[in-house]
Symmetry: C2
Subunit: 284 residues, 2 copies
């Protein structure tokens, strides 16, 4: 259950207030990360930090002081009531600025950390229903892959359905290529080949997508990152979506299409827990 | 000169602080308007309000209480030191929300008003130099035309040049069509025909663009809204950009191309001041 206001810090200060001159608000000029927290530990921290820094670099935002950010996160976690699981959101914006799009080269990035309740994210592990969204993602290679704060497309896509039985919506791009879910990346399996859409033109390159690709490599599953058409989606043997919070959710229904539970998906699901987050390796 | 922090109100409250759970920050989930203020009066108010409401409607954001917003703006203007000209920025977001893209149907929009110094916006009236940006706008008909808060493309495009002698950058879309400037709309004149790019796929439909189109109609200038290619841009007789703050700026140089001052542009420029903002008509 969501109890409303999350616990938060802005540049280390307790409280949930931000300057209205912050470019995160004015232009969506920043990046974010969403991490699972288990037993008061943010999971896949190093991977999330690497993506955060890469996103900042591509947008020309000054690098984040990771040690300081981690201290702020730890303080936030210590201040929170004990919970087996929670959700950590980290936002880094370009900082405050004068009016106008031009970034100030001297801008000091704003760090925002928020701790949210876990809510109901576990029930999809046995399989979910998904829908195909009518909104199509715009292509922009310069922004593709980055988990930036310009997320109106996801908001509009997520507005397309109300049915709580549908847990995710899948998105095509303007050319009709299958790209991702509104909050997840997508994989499909056909004749033993694991494919996930190429994100060179649009989409968010998820941390769990990387983990799944790495795991598939270790399991010697044939894997391909390529353009995916709608036909391939409907003809797949198995389909799943993934992100840092949900892990892997098999998709068992997409509109009127049905996908039986599959061995590749369940094999990846069962191996996910073997990732050793402390040593960035896989347990045997 | 920009003196830094603007005067601001958030939902009528003095001060420049916003909740970090506001969807304007989280997703760029909102719209904005930038108005010229002359002699303590926001110019083209009715037109800006119409666009603001239209943008909210398209995004599924609840309508804005215009009377209340105007009261907040007037309070802001009364609190400000007297200035012949200033810049009013109005932001409306979907409001605060729980984590996740799905909009809460009961969300109460956040109103933010900011008053900025005028800065140096007048010097372009005799003609400016512009550059062609390498960033290309992504196409998304569902968001096209709306002045929403997802503005990373403009930020990245505006980062492409440092030369203070260059006052605007022109943007193409992914297909190579000419669309707009980073902060302005674009018009070109060829053999007496006035053309501005179609914004059905991307771009911001500016208030001054509408005013110019209306004025051109009244002056019986042949006018067309259509796709514009790069060739047409370079072969134009006259070129100008416009927005609510600058009015019309002739473009006299674009990369190595030169455009002599033209009669259509100067005719429109001189007639702009004849718009009667009180009665939404043109003085004879």
């Amino acid at each position: 259950m969501n109890t409303g206001m999350p616990l938060s810090r802005v540049n280390g200060e307790a409280g949930g207030q931000l300057s209205v001159t912050d470019r995160g608000l004015l232009f969506g000029d920043g990046v974010f990360e969403t991490l699972a927290v288990r037993d008061a530990r943010p999971c896949l921290w190093a991977r999330h930090m690497a993506r955060l820094q890469a996103g900042c670099h591509r947008l020309g935002i000054a690098p984040v002081d990771e040690a300081r950010l981690r201290t702020e996160v730890d303080e936030l976690l210590q201040a929170a009531p004990a919970a087996a699981q929670s959700v950590l959101k980290i936002i880094v914006t370009r900082g405050t600025g004068t009016r106008g799009y031009r970034p100030d080269p001297g801008a000091v990035p704003t760090r925002i950390v928020q701790l949210h309740d876990w809510a109901d994210r576990d029930s999809g592990e046995t399989g979910i229903k998904a829908t195909l969204c009518s909104l199509r993602l715009g292509n922009n290679p310069q922004l593709a892959g980055i988990k930036h704060l310009n997320r109106l497309e996801q908001v509009m896509a997520r507005s397309e359905w109300d049915d709580p039985g549908i847990r995710e919506g899948l998105l095509l791009d303007q050319a009709g290529r299958v790209i991702e879910g509104t909050m997840s990346n997508l994989f499909l399996v056909k004749d033993g080949l694991l494919t996930t859409p190429d994100l060179a033109r649009c989409g968010v390159a998820g941390i769990m997508r990387d983990v799944v690709l790495e795991l598939a490599g270790r399991q010697a599953i044939d894997t391909r990152v390529s353009d995916v058409g709608l036909d391939a989606l409907f003809q797949a043997d198995e389909l799943f979506v993934c992100n840092s919070l949900i892990g892997i959710w098999p998709v068992v229904a997409l509109n009127s299409n049905r996908y039986p539970p599959g061995a590749v998906t369940s094999g990846l699901q069962s191996r996910l827990q073997d990732y050793d987050d402390d040593h960035h390796t896989w347990r045997a």
